[in-house]
Symmetry: D2
Subunit: 283 residues, 4 copies
């Protein structure tokens, strides 16, 4: 049983909700969830609405065409998805595999509607894990000298597997602007700090030096600027003066896993809208 | 600038959202917030929608009449409020005044759209606080022998002041079934435990004896069954073996204040729907 | 480099700390950590002290004998461990394997100083996981008719492998009083509710029916009374009216993993003292 | 019944704990609490020990002299307090009074062992609150032109009232380096962000612009560098895209109150040791 998911943003105007819901009702679309938000500073209207395709009298192939006039009338940016279209994804990972493990277990338990086509790593540590979960593993070593060539190889892999979404599960190589560009709002990263604090390398060591009493983790879409893309989810955890940098690393792992897996789940459930380098995450 | 707030629950059916939003659009009601929820177990539809009364072409006095046909068609339970109708309330308190203080400070800062007509207490501890905040204080002593007479006095006070909502801010006297009856879903209590754990007296002493590692507070509507009414909000806080019962009491105070004040705010913002002894709390 | 860990409880008395620390200093034991707690209600003194065995001038084999006079003078209950004595353990699991997975990944990353000798289950779901982590798996089916025989088989397994500690990682069979008895304070369970709320079966369904706004998980030592043993650790997580029982189950999984793994870690780090059906958990 | 509180930091060495606790036992000092910490990176030992002065056979007036040889032997930095020496304090506040209110209510309930001698403000908003709590109020207007003169007036007030500790309860004027200097680790500030994120002005507006999913509050000792002194306590709270800057401000208030009041309590309970621009906060 398939559902349609419509994500909309447009200038706020009288009657938007009515027009959209009337369009669905006219075609016998039974709304399963509808959520809207108005950003009052910019006068922008956001909506996520899902409805059952069973009984809906517009065939899937004609839906875009039929919805276009309404979308144009309200100057909408819109995205349309179907719950049974399962997007293909790839996970990038380096030496630390706790997030990878957590994603794969949750994926196997059915939490993420995606087909994971590849695990790509600059190390070999994750190879046996990929093997156990029966996902193809690709070792693409990376260093300052071979970066261009390595990224070409990765791009080829992604293209060949029709990968639409990239999850960086503690991947410690910076992706170039060119590599990122075609995947706008489709590369999800986990940074092991409460951003915008402690950007860049060794955030736990930075947090330790600063003497914070709480550590954090942040999942965000990757943009050209390091650790500065739209934030999807954050989590925090108390620490104390007793905790060494190593303790922070250990305590942070559970935080990273939870924060990343929530962001990944919401992305694949099509709950996220990006605007002004921020996110609207519908319930 | 006044808004209308409509709270609806009814059996789920095709086109409900469309009909409601179309009704508003037809009369030039610009939706400010709309949120809906479907309880899939019982097939129940819930909605909260607010719109600007400026420009809305049905006068306030006719709105109920005009909406009734639609409401009947969908077998709705519905409540209609206007943001500039400020309901009257009373706060009941005993010896411990931290919640009372917190509510009065927040009320003064404009957090709760209510007019507090009376502070009623079985002790005199709160009298100078009521005085400082310039709210009439009524001392109504209560003991097993005079309960009937005391409640009659309180009822008279409430009637005389047209009080619609009662907030029990650590009021340590049990209200009778008869007293409660006319105020269904309009008496808000704070219980200093994570309900349903530790019902009744001395929940902190109970928690200490049990050796829990986290304490809680629960705000709920009062029903005839002690500490068992619909839960509005809960909060929790870590403790350790080092904490004495007195420490729990002290740490719990901030928790109680936050949990009660949130419930009170949501109630007066008309964000709460009750069904099956549970609450829907819209964002 | 080995450390000694001493856990003490006794009636509080002048000079206890001085006597113990002087004993260590006299024998050139450099204290790494010392933590004490006094329960004022019962006048009980608790202490955990660890020191470096390098340079300590009492050989390990004579330490118990040498410490006994001091212990007797103060009427101590005491336990002595060495950080390089790695105790043997077994994990019990049923169909749900998320906690098992989490424990095994963390064990592999070095979080728990224990040797896991066996994974025992009344289902076969965990067999491939055990296989991947190279830990012997034992399928011991259990039903009301064969319980006695099944427990005998398990006891034999545990004895044969010299297992000292049992971890119930979502094991859904009740252990008999006789089975539990020899493992006092050495069977760690995870219950998927905020105890003492929602004892017994289907706590998430109970929580859903009650309409709580926060769910919890509790790790405790197993005693003859169901879900009533000394609490080691608890965790909580916000939910809302939007969450179905299935959502609670999903959200609860991360909570269960974190709470159980903390309890397991603290147990093997010898940080827990039990008294009056409660725990002291040293930092 | 008075207790002595000793705070120590020194290079870590064999036998420190033994020497200190033996010193106390020799003089019949019954230890009430003892907590120690070793910073392994720098090899620094920290200790907080409290004991009952009843029965202790060194008179209070000779204690410093008697303890000095031991302190010198171990090259200690040390501070000695008595629980019945109540230090004098002043609260600085600007227009927003929620933290002030919370501190005064908690002070009246006995949470902070201090005598509040003055409330000092660049506005008059807090005057009636000071009046209600019967604490002298001083209005010291401040602008870029009169800063020197204003600070001189404040210094005079503090000196005259023998104030030892300053609490900045949302005081929105920067204190000069000269003003701060004599009060090292004795000026407690609350900053309404999760430091080091969002230093300086309007942190809630900064947080809103950045699109964080969690807001924070930080209490720290004031140093010459803005919002960069040793962190005492932090707290965080979830927000969502629905929250306006005004909502963040409102939600942040409870956070600020809790974080500041904890820091103030710990300071007056003498639980805080500062080193390397960080704090050790004993339980």
């Amino acid at each position: 049983m398939s559902s349609a998911i419509l994500l909309i943003s447009c200038p706020d105007r009288l009657g938007i909700v009515a027009e959209i819901t009337q369009f669905l009702a006219d075609h016998r679309g039974n709304i399963e969830h509808a959520d809207q938000h108005i950003d009052e500073q910019t006068g922008t209207f956001f909506m996520r609405v899902t409805w059952n395709m069973e009984g809906f009298d517009i065939p899937r192939s004609e839906l875009r065409t039929k919805f276009t006039p309404l979308a144009e009338e309200f100057h909408m940016h819109w995205e349309l998805y179907f719950s049974d279209d399962i997007p293909k994804s790839a996970i990038f990972v380096s030496k630390e595999t706790h997030c990878l493990f957590d994603l794969l277990v949750k994926h196997r338990e059915g939490h993420f509607p995606t087909e994971i086509k590849a695990i790509i790593s600059n190390h070999t540590a994750a190879a046996p894990i990929a093997d156990y979960f029966e996902i193809p593993f690709f070792h693409v070593p990376k260093n300052p000298r071979n970066r261009e060539e390595a990224e070409r190889q990765e791009q080829e892999l992604l293209r060949h597997n029709q990968v639409e979404v990239l999850v960086l599960a503690r991947y410690h190589r910076i992706l170039t602007r060119e590599f990122i560009k075609p995947y706008q709002n489709r590369i999800i990263n986990i940074h092991h700090s409460f951003l915008p604090a402690f950007v860049g390398k060794n955030p736990y060591a930075q947090a330790y030096r600063k003497g914070v009493k709480i550590i954090g983790a942040t999942s965000h879409y990757v943009t050209a600027e390091l650790d500065a893309g739209p934030i999807i989810e954050q989590g925090t955890e108390r620490i104390s003066h007793r905790d060494s940098v190593e303790d922070l690393r250990r305590k942070g792992k559970d935080l990273e896993k939870i924060v990343l897996s929530r962001a990944v789940q919401w992305h694949f459930e099509r709950k996220i809208l990006v605007y002004h380098n921020k996110t609207v995450v519908f319930d």
